[in-house]
Each structure stands twice: as C-alpha cells, then as structure tokens.
Symmetry: C2
Subunit: 281 residues, 2 copies
Amino acid sequence: MTSIAHLGPLGSYSELAATNYAHWLMANHGAVSNLKPYNTIAKAIQAAATGETDAAVVPIENSIGGSVRDTLDMLWELDTLKIQNNLVIPIHHALLSHATCLRDIQTVYSHPQALTQCQKWLAANLPNAVQIATSSTTEALPRLSNDATSAAISPMWAAKLYNISVLADPINDNPDNATRFWVLGRNQTKQGSHTSLAFRLPDNAPGALLKPLQLFATQGINMSRIESRPTKLALGDYRFFIDIEASLDDPNTQAALQLLRNCTKTLKIFGSYKQIQVQVL
Amino acid sequence: MTSIAHLGPLGSYSELAATNYAHWLMANHGAVSNLKPYNTIAKAIQAAATGETDAAVVPIENSIGGSVRDTLDMLWELDTLKIQNNLVIPIHHALLSHATCLRDIQTVYSHPQALTQCQKWLAANLPNAVQIATSSTTEALPRLSNDATSAAISPMWAAKLYNISVLADPINDNPDNATRFWVLGRNQTKQGSHTSLAFRLPDNAPGALLKPLQLFATQGINMSRIESRPTKLALGDYRFFIDIEASLDDPNTQAALQLLRNCTKTLKIFGSYKQIQVQVL
C-alpha cells in the first residue's frame, strides 16, 4: 500500500492530481494507494519527508498564477526529498449550485485565484453577483445545500463528490489553464527526461547568473524554466530554481553540474523525473 | 495637490509607504498630497493609469514573500505607467490588543503572510492561541474593542491610528523583513540609478534568456533582479522582468536596449527611477 499526501479538502485539484497518480501507479506497477489529505502544502510535503507517507503530490506551477512558492521554499529547506514524477492537470472550473437557473444566483464563492480566473465569464453572466473569497475551491460546497441563491466555482469533478448540480462548465476565461504537479519522495528514481535544481550565487547578485546559464548552454542543455525566490535574509538576495531538459544520468549534465559547483554557493539537486501521462478523471 | 493611490485599509504598510512618499514630496518639492486608498493593488494602479490619481505607490517585492505578482502583471498589461521612484519600508509587526497581558490572548488575527512571518514568536509566546487569517493586517482591529482575549498582528504605526495598545513589538521572526515599493505615474522622470524592463523571448524557452543577459554583461551593466511570470497563455511560456543598475540616459544602456530588441519578442521599458530615502514614521 502506497500512501500519498496531498493538499485537501475533498474535491480539490490536488486531490484530483493525487488520484490520477494513484491510478497510474496501479496501471503501471500494480500498486494500491491510499490518499491522505493535509490542510497545507507544507504539511503534505513534511509528511513525505518524515516517512508518515510514501510520497506527496504537490502543485509546482500554474499557467496563470505562476510558481507555487510554498512548494519551492519547502523543497529548499527540507533538502531530503527528490522529485520522482511530473504530471499536468487541466484546470476546468465549473459553477456548482442547488439553484435551477443562473439568474437566481446572488453570491459566488471560491478561492481568490479561481475567482480571478473566471472574471470575464462572471462579468458577462453574473455581473451583479457578490464574489466572496474562501480558502479553497471546495470550502463553500457544504454550505450551498441550504441556499439556492449561492454558487461556488469548483473543480468539475467535485460536483459528484458533493452531490451538487453543475450550472455552467467550463467557466474559466482561459481554456488552456493547467497546473503542473510534482510527486515527491525520499528515494531518487532511476531515470528521467528532466532535472530540477536550485542554487545561491556567491556574490548575491543576479548578474552572476550569467555563468551558470552559460554552463548549461555550452553542454547543449536546454533550460525550460527559471524562477527566483528570496533567501528571506535580506532584500535583493535570491535563490534560483532551474529546470533543465536533461537527465542526471547524462554525461553532459554531470559535466555541467561539476562546473556549476564552482560558481554557485549552495547547490541543491532535486532529482531527475519523467512526465506521467494521466487520464484526467 | 498631488493625489496618491495606495492599497488600503487604514494603517496598512502600503499606506505607510504612501505617507512617507507624501512627506518626501513636501520636503523636496513643497508639494501637498492627498492619499486615496483602494481595496486592491490592481485598482490603485488603474487609478494612476486613468488619471484618477497622479501616482500610485504599490509594493513590488518583500524580502520574505518575494515578488508582488499583481504589480508585475498590471505593469505589463497596462503599458502606460512609468516607475518614478523606489522606496524601501522596514516591516515591523506588532501585537495589538485591548488585553492587559499576553496570557489572556486566545485568538490572533492577521494576514496569512504576517502570521507566517511571526510563527517562531507565536510558538514561543502564544503556543495555544488560535490563528485566524484575515484579508489585511488591520482588518481585525475594529473588532478587537469588544474582545480582550483577541489580538492582531499589525504594523506598529496602526496602534495609534486605531487607538489600541501594543502588547509586544517587534514580533517578526526576521528583523530585516522589508518591502520595496514603486511610485508609478504617467510621466517618465528624467534620471535614475536603476531601470526596470520586461520581455518575452522569441521561442518561449528560458534557454533563450542567455542572450539578453550576455548583452547587459557585455555593456558592464549589473542586473540586480530577475523574475519570471507566466504569459497566462500556456504552461512553460514566460515573461521576464529585469532590474538593472543603470539609467536609461546612459549610452551603455541605450546600446544594450538596441540589441535587446533583436533577441526579444515584446520589450517593455518601465523607466528609470531613483531610490528615495524615507524617514519611516
């Protein structure tokens, strides 16, 4: 039995990602999983780090919101987890409600990011509805049963979990909205098409970033993502998180990493991982 | 009379920054200002863009939380505002309450970022208090008057504005916590020590970032910050925001920007600005 930590509550996109990963484990390794929800990303990651669970499935990047900072910061701080797999989940927001038609809706609940991602649809279809922020996309769902004038913007698949009707779907303004998740565990998987790492620079100036980037370019390694995060020590002092399109096993990667140690202050390698193709539920 | 838009409510760090800017305007230009609070960063920036106010003072980066995404995204989208000045405000969280001693406190309210920034202090001093998230650091203050068992983590200077006692100060775990603000306006100021710009890359791959960084290095221009933001079109497609330590008037900067146009897709220059020294209130 493989235990998988994820950000709750029931019906969240993180649970959807974890469920897809569990299905993949069953199909490819015959492994049965059980999912364990946590109320913050940090706690889900910590569960995998301490051995309370075998893995954590956590969001790393959304196509609209950008990087998930808690995930990056926790990975740096813990220094014990490896990225084992990468999966992309399309974000399809639906309007869930016990109302029978749109014009009855006076209030719309959702997480601030989901509200932002549906602003054009809301302006066109519910211009007078009051928008109220909640701490997750599914938090308001249990409350809707006694109120046929309210709706929640939630993942489509939460409708059957909470037994609520779908009034409209999809309602996100950008149809290509997607979130990338990482599967984190204590063991390094053998191979992968991508590698993630992070470092600080010796003189704290992003200008010194040129050298590390040149190293990868010289080895013919493409960089698919770069993200800066503060070290939390002082303004202007950063860590850099980089994804490269190469495996750790690759001699070119090994050569680049060898040289990278000389021009970075702290270098952390989060492992090589492959892309899992999921059949989104 | 110069009107200055900022993120409210009364007593917020943004209001503190705007007040400091108003004092600087008075001391250096003899200009009288009036402050106008808005309930989101986007609305404050829009006020300056449409001419509803003369300027907006908005946060751009915190030493713990990192970049303020709303500010970066709005600057890119509007394309009409210039950065006129830069100011740094130290963040000194205080515990405000009508209680007379710490051991009476059962509940602590604040913005999630402020709660996170005081976790060690809370664990040591109020390990059993329930922490409740609010939408700003001052939102809970009006409610405290009827409740001597609750406290709020707020800016120190909010204590006198709301007439509430300071139970402890400073309580942030990191004493060097600071936020950088930009003054945005429709006119470009004449000179500055720093320049900010943003661009997309022609082939959507951060690997193509090497060329722009080389251009600055060749001209002897140091880069003090780099931040990636999604274009919101698809996963893996980014804009890059860069701060350089050089003025737009500088021939070296002009030479670099000329070449930069050839290796970027959309190049936006947000102007040159200087650092304002503020006497924090």
